[in-house]
Structures are given as structure tokens and as C-alpha cells.
Amino acid sequence: MRSETKNLFKGLGFISPWLIGFSAFTLLPISLSLYYSFCNYPLIQKPVFVGLANYRGLMHDSIFWTANYNTFIYAILALPAGLFIALALALFLNVRIRGQAIYRTLIFLPSLIPAVASAMLWLWLFNSKLGLVNFVLRGLGMKDPPGWLTDVRWALPSLVIISFWGVGNTVIIFLAGLQDVPSELFEAADLDGASKLQTLRHVTLPSISPVIFFNLIMGIIGTLQVFVLPFIMTQGGPGRATYLYTEYMYDNAFGYLKMGYCSAMAWLQLLVVLALTGIAFWSSRRWVHYQDR
């Protein structure tokens, strides 16, 4: 056997555990879910091919559109604000001040708390009668603070606010990017008489644009798939005000025994995420600057 072929087989042999695992636990389920999206499949009965019936059903499903709308609003609110807050915190943590390590730890710690524990914590913080948030607001003179999770107008914004609790991971990534900016650029800007704001706008942000882009992509994927917090805290209420896409998928799969319908929803979600990611990649040509290009 030629040595190249030998080497190929050797390499395949070494990565075979991963290949087998990927095929069995990722590729096969994904392929099956595509097939099931064209089937009526209650999970405890065999799948029966029904063509595009699931996709047609989704288009006429009012709850599907409600879940889509809620998820869209959540993403519109949570993603840009989350990126802004994470970047602001990273800029703050990048400044050499006393206790920098402590601040970094404090800001990162909440992202280590399990989601369920965070949900229970925030349920009490946002309790309109007994919660700390309204206690502070009443102390500041607000007579009728919001009902937060039980108020239709505030339930979804409440979930958005809670999402900022876990920006620690994004902050760390931004911080790494900030520390990678060549100091010569800052020196040059300083020599040219640029203000802090001008330096931020014309030096810092373009330099870390690849990191912003990465966090944007991860944020698009994450916000469109949010599940744990609304599932635990509001169960989609009040009046389906926080009923998000992934929760409706879950209910269809395990509550209503419509695995085919759920699979169709999953593939539609994939297409939406791909489309948004594609748009982000297309737009990145204008505003993302890589250092080696």
C-alpha cells in the first residue's frame, strides 16, 4: 500500500472515535429529523410520510406565528443590548485599575450559575410584591412598579433583562479581543490628537470587529434558541406573551406528540438562522477588518 494511503487510513483510524460519534449522535439524528419533518410522527407510532403537510400546517398555525413574533422581539431587544453591555463591560475591565481581577471575577461569576438556579433567583427578584427589584423601585419613589413576569407588557422585557445576567462569556471574548489590539495603534492615535471617543470609534472598534462579528453570530444563534429561562419562569405566559419558538417546539414534540411537526419547526429555524448568518456574513465585508488582510 502506498505510504499516502497508509497515512490516510492511519489518520482515519485515529479520528474514527469522533467520526463514529459524530455520525451516530449528530449526523444521523439530523438526517432523520429532516425525514421526520415530512412525516406524521407521534413518536410512539411509526412515521408516515405526509409530504409538505407539516410545513403547510405551520404557515396556518396562529401559535407558530405568535411564537415567531415573540422570539423575534426578544432577539431584537436582547442581542444588540447584550452586545453593547458586554462590550461596555469589557472596555471597563480593560482599564488598568485597582481590583481589576476582582471586577473581572464578579462580572464573569453569574454566567457560571446554572440556568435553573438563575431562573429561581430572578423569579423572586422580579416578584412584584415581595421582590428586591420592586422594593428598590418603591424606595426610589415609584408608586406602581411593573408587574414584571406577570405583566403582559413587561414579561418579555423582563426575560431580556435577565439575559444580561449571563453576558460574562461574551465579555471575556471581547476582553481577549481588546487586549489583542496593537498598542502602536493607540500610540499613533494619541500622537495624532485623537480623543478617547475618536480612538474608540476609529481604532478600537475596527480592530475588534472580528470579535464583534463572532459574538454577533453566536448571539443570533443563542437568542433564537432561548428556552430554559422562559420555560421555567413563565411557561410561556402570561397569555403566551413569553411563548418562544423553542418552547413551542418542545411542547409539540413531548406534549402533543407531534415529532414530525416539531422537526419541521426545527428545520425552519435552521433556515432562518442560516439566512440571518448569511446576511451577517455578507454585511461583514463592509465593517469587519481582519488584521492580516
Binding site: 410512539i44 412584584s128 403566551r240 406528540l257
Partner: protein
């Protein structure tokens, strides 16, 4: 460097060996000479402990004689886990399902029919109260037997009634009895509701949404139902159903939806001293007989006014009632002359399809359904009995002094269970959402019910069509 590396490796090896030798072991050692059957059940806490008493009794008696050992496994989201396990071909031998999942699972062939095994044991229609027997039968088969039933009634705080006796009498109401019609209930609720000067509700006389466990079945007390089993059509837009939702919305209207939301937000968990009824922030509520257990555990002062429990249990049934500052009566209806309407829920023991030990599993289910065992379990759980025959000991020594009221309601010709709809979980979610939106004044009952009528009927029709396409003749 080498020393550090080898120290690290040695540490891992020693830790691994230690864990293997002395690490955690399973609590339960299974007998080798018996057939082990896995029983998955939803209960935790006290209810789990009480069911384990029954399981232990079986294992020590009938199980020992017949070579069967029941392994109780407490499992959250029992319906989903049973579903996935059944689909994967590894179901438990017994699943403790909710009533809303029974017909859903049965309609898709996920459960084993039990009528033959039940008949061999003498468990037939005459053995059960009709409402519960009918609830376990669907499309000509018996799909499960009951572990614990419930039936709901009006619970009212007699201390609050007496403290407000003058105000009640001024409104033409009797503080010494429960309301007997829906209009009277509303009148009592208005008198007993108290607010701060700013409008915040301190105590609600009654709230349809507190707790909201049975709100979907409110139409029963208005003389209707949202499902016609004969025609297999939803009747969500029928006048009784519309009236029931208008009644639910009326509380948001006169209390104020924001005040009501704010009030409900301050109410604690059911199993806590902040439970609205226990805390006295709600004067009346619809609930099952098990509430007595929770009151005794979380706020015993409400159930030991004159005597301790062991002294009380020696008193006559009538005298026992003096020991409580709460009482029970049938929930009032909106239809003149219609009495003793009740919603009867239940938990079941079912055998999933592909269970490996069906006969042995049914031995345990039959054991639980023995009159003495059923009464023991339901005394522990503080619930009524699903069986037609009930002993005097059960009635006289039940922890709930009002058990006779619940028993009477469960035998009533107007007792109803959850409608037998194969897509019931979807119906429940949609109705829950509707009742929330109605309570928040987001939608009128007419509009919401009209939308649901179209949506749910289409969902059911699609389900029936799919089942016919699979060869089912039942739809």
C-alpha cells in the same frame, strides 16, 4: 517535572481506586429471586413517602408470595419520560400517569389494555364509582386503573366568614354557610374582598384563577362542557362555556386586572405557608380533599382550633368539624336546580406497551385497587376513594373531616372527569392561555372561544384523519 507528572498520575489512580472501592452505591438492593418491576411515579415529598408505604406493603406480602418486587422510581415529567421510554422500547412496567395523558397515550396504542386481567380479579364497572370507571375506559377498552382520585369542592375560611359576619348579613348573606349559587358566591366574594386605600387587594373573597388548576372545567358548573363525546366535536362556543368565561373575566373587571395580577404575584406556592388559602389572602377557593393534608402540615392552627389531631380523631364526625376554621361545601352552580356538580380528576397506574412484565405489573395494580389498600393509600394522601364501596372506617377516620362531602360529590350524576380527547394536552394548554388572556382583559370570551373552536377542531380532525390513515377504525 517527572516527579510532578508521576505524582499526578498516582493521585488519579488512587482516587479512581478509592471511588470504585468505597464510592456511592445504590440504596436499594434488589432481591435476586423475584421479578423486579419498575414503577415510575410522579410523586415526590410526602406523597412519594406515602406511596412507598403501599409499595413496601406489597413487597412484604403479596410480592413476597408471588415472587414480585416493585421498584418505585420518582420521576418528574412522567408523561414525557414514559413516552420516550415506550418509543424506545424500554418502558417502565408501570407508569403513574396523569388523567389528561391517558386517552392521548391509549389512542396511539402506547398502553396495554387491562380489561381481561381486571375481570379476572373481579374489577369491573360495578367495583368503581361510575365517573372514575368511565374515565379509565376509552374506545371499548380499560387502559388503566386508578391510584388516587380527587374531586373538587368549595373550601371556605369560616374564621374570615365570622369576622365579617356583620358585613355579610348587611348584604343579605348568611355567614354560617357557604354560597349556594354562583351569584351568591360573587356576592360573598365582593363583601369579603379588602383593599388598601390605593386599590391594592389585600384579601380576595374569591378568585377563579386561584388556584387555576381546574379553571378549564368551570363550564361544568354552568351546565355545559367544551366537548361533545357523541359527535366528537368541540362545543367551545356553546352558551354555558361562553358564560363560564364571562364569569371568569368578570372578576378581572371588578377587581381590576392589574390589581388582580399584582395580588396573584404575591401568592406563594401551593405547598407552602404562603398558599393563598392558608395565608388567609383568599377566603374561598375550589380545591380537592388533599388540601386538608397541606393545611395540617403548613398551617396546623387552622385544623387544630380546639384539640390536637389525635384527640380530634376520637370525636364523632360531627364534633370533629368544630376543630377547623375552614369548611367544605359543593361548589355552587349557575344553573337553578343544578346541584352537586363536581370535576373529578385522577392519577392512574397504566402498563405501557412493550412492558416486559405485564402480568406481574398488574398484580401490583390489582393490589393497590383492593379496597383496604386503596383506602389506606387515599387516607395517607387525604383523597376520596374511587371505589363504589367505602368502609365506615374510611369515612370516620379520614384525615379530612369533610370526606363525606367529597364522596357524595364523586357519586353524583353530575360528576364529570377530564373530557376524553386524544389531543387533550394541547387543549389544556390552549384553554390555560385563553383563561389567562381573558383574565388580563386582552380578549373577550366570545372572540377567544371562537378562535379556539376553529383551531382545536381542526387539530382534532387532523388527528382523526391521521389515525384513519394508519388503519384505525376508532375515528
Amino acid at each position: 517535572m517527572k516527579a510532578i507528572k508521576w505524582s499526578f498520575i498516582l493521585l488519579i489512580v488512587v482516587a479512581t481506586a478509592g471511588l470504585l472501592a468505597f464510592g456511592p452505591r445504590a440504596n436499594e438492593s434488589l432481591p435476586k429471586d423475584r421479578v423486579v418491576i419498575d414503577y415510575w411515579e410522579k410523586w415526590t415529598g410526602n406523597e412519594e413517602a406515602q406511596m412507598r408505604v403501599i409499595v413496601d406493603d406489597f413487597n412484604n406480602t403479596v410480592g413476597a408470595q408471588k415472587g414480585i418486587y416493585v421498584r418505585y422510581v420518582s420521576s418528574s415529567t412522567i408523561n414525557q419520560k414514559t413516552l420516550v421510554a415506550t418509543a424506545g422500547g424500554v418502558p417502565p412496567d408501570i407508569a403513574g400517569l396523569f388523567d389528561v395523558n391517558l386517552v392521548q397515550f391509549a389512542s396511539m396504542g402506547a398502553l396495554e389494555p387491562l380489561e381481561d386481567m381486571a375481570r379476572e380479579r373481579g374489577i369491573t364497572a360495578s367495583y368503581y364509582k361510575p365517573v372514575y370507571w368511565n374515565g379509565c375506559n376509552y374506545n371499548g377498552h380499560l387502559w388503566a386503573l386508578i391510584s388516587t382520585p380527587t374531586v373538587v369542592a368549595l373550601h371556605y375560611n369560616t374564621r374570615i366568614f365570622h369576622e365579617n359576619a356583620a358585613a355579610l348579613r348587611a348584604a343579605g348573606l348568611d355567614p354560617d354557610r357557604a354560597p349556594q349559587t354562583i351569584d351568591e358566591l360573587d356576592a360573598y366574594a365582593r363583601v369579603l374582598t379588602t383593599r388598601e386605600p390605593g386599590g391594592r387587594v389585600i384579601r380576595a373573597g374569591f378568585l377563579p384563577m386561584e388556584p387555576n388548576w381546574y379553571v378549564n372545567y368551570t363550564c361544568y358548573w354552568f351546565g355545559g362542557s367544551f366537548w361533545d363525546a357523541q359527535t366528537r366535536r368541540f362545543t367551545l362556543t356553546s352558551p354555558p362555556v361562553v358564560k363560564s368565561y364571562e364569569w371568569i373575566q368578570s372578576y378581572a373587571s371588578w377587581l381590576g386586572k392589574d390589581a388582580m395580577s399584582d395580588f396573584r404575584n404575591g401568592v406563594g406556592n401551593f405547598d407552602s405557608p404562603q398558599n393563598a388559602f392558608l395565608a388567609g389572602t383568599v377566603a374561598m377557593e375550589m380545591q380537592g380533599p388533599f388540601l386538608a393534608n397541606f393545611i395540617y402540615n403548613r398551617k396546623p392552627s387552622m385544623s387544630t382550633v380546639l384539640w390536637t389531631k389525635d384527640v380530634e380523631m376520637k370525636k364523632s364526625p360531627a364534633e370533629r368539624l368544630r376543630n377547623y376554621e375552614w369548611a367544605v361545601a359543593p361548589f355552587p352552580t349557575a344553573v337553578p336546580g343544578l346541584k352537586d356538580v363536581a370535576y373529578c380528576g385522577f392519577d392512574v397506574l397504566a402498563i405501557p406497551r412493550d412492558s416486559k412484565h405485564k402480568k406481574e405489573a398488574f398484580e401490583f395494580i390489582a393490589y393497590v385497587n383492593r379496597q383496604d389498600v386503596m383506602e389506606k393509600l387515599n387516607k395517607l394522601h387525604c383523597k376520596n376513594s374511587p371505589l363504589a364501596k367505602v368502609s365506615d372506617d374510611f369515612l370516620n377516620n379520614h384525615p379530612n373531616p369533610y370526606i363525606r362531602v367529597f364522596e357524595r360529590l364523586a357519586r353524583s350524576p353530575h360528576a364529570q372527569t377530564v373530557p376524553q380527547i386524544p389531543i387533550m394536552p394541547e387543549v389544556v394548554d390552549d384553554l390555560n392561555s385563553l383563561s389567562q388572556r381573558v383574565s388580563l382583559l386582552q380578549i373577550t370570551p366570545q372572540q377567544g372561544l371562537a378562535e379556539l373552536q376553529v383551531r382545536l377542531q381542526a387539530q382534532y380532525d387532523e388527528f382523526a384523519r391521521q389515525q384513519r390513515a394508519r388503519g384505525s377504525t376508532a375515528y
